[in-house]
């Protein structure tokens, strides 16, 4: 149990550290969002796996029911975290693009052109 929990915690801490570093080393908001969201989601997921492994070991050793409850609630927390982090990051990137922020060293904005073409086509159909 010690070795398994230690390995899982080390993986989680490494990815959390990479996520925190990516906030400082990337040049613009999109790359920062990419690095921070993916790395911290993965790292927090592995921290939860470590808690689940610890609770599973205690459940096998002692047989108390509250460790089973801890495992189930950790699974629910992982599910909630996976959904909310991805959705929030997508909403932030969309908002950043709509407010006119371009990536660093960008020269064209194909998404903006595509939106204009689609709006024109929908206007012609209506």
């Amino acid at each position: 149990m010690f070795i398994i929990v230690g390995i899982l915690i080390l993986i989680g801490l490494a990815f959390n550290l990479l996520g925190a570093i990516s906030l400082y080393r990337f040049p613009d908001v999109y790359t920062r969002l990419h690095g921070a969201t993916k790395c911290t989601t993965f790292g927090t997921l592995f921290t939860m796996f470590a808690v689940v492994a610890y609770a599973l070991g205690r459940l096998v050793m002692t047989g108390e029911a509250r460790f089973g409850v801890l495992i189930i609630h950790s699974a629910i927390a992982a599910f909630v975290l996976l959904i909310t982090n991805a959705t929030g990051a997508h909403a932030l990137a969309r908002a950043a693009h709509r407010s006119g922020i371009l990536p660093a060293r960008a020269v064209v904005d194909r998404l903006e052109e595509y939106d204009e073409i689609r709006a024109k086509r929908e206007g012609a159909q209506a």
């Binding site: 915690i9 925190a20 400082y24 908001v29 609630h73 950790s74 929030g88 909403a91 908002a95």
Partner: protein, 86 residues
């Protein structure tokens, strides 16, 4: 002995959550600050999960679930505000 691993993890994650404050204060644009706040919320959720293992309390995990949902609502509100629809 396993508790010591979780205490070490709690220390590192708390220091990371404090370290993100630099981007929160110095971010050039508003979405940068929102990204830093989102990252900090994820670190706090991770910290709560570790504390649930340290103190053997399921309540910490429940609080972490509610914190994740509330931080999602906050992030969506920030996104709508940056878009200019609020």
């Amino acid at each position: 002995m396993t508790i010591m691993i979780f205490l070490f993890a709690a220390t590192v994650v708390a220091l990371l959550a404090i370290g993100v404050v630099g981007r929160l204060a110095a971010g050039p644009t508003v979405p940068d600050r929102a990204v830093a706040l989102d990252t900090m919320n994820t670190f706090v959720i991770s910290l709560m999960m570790v504390f649930a293992a340290v103190y053997d309390s399921v309540v910490m995990v429940d609080i972490a679930i509610v914190y994740a949902a509330l931080s999602f609502v906050g992030t969506m509100f920030f996104a709508r505000f940056i878009e200019g629809e609020v």
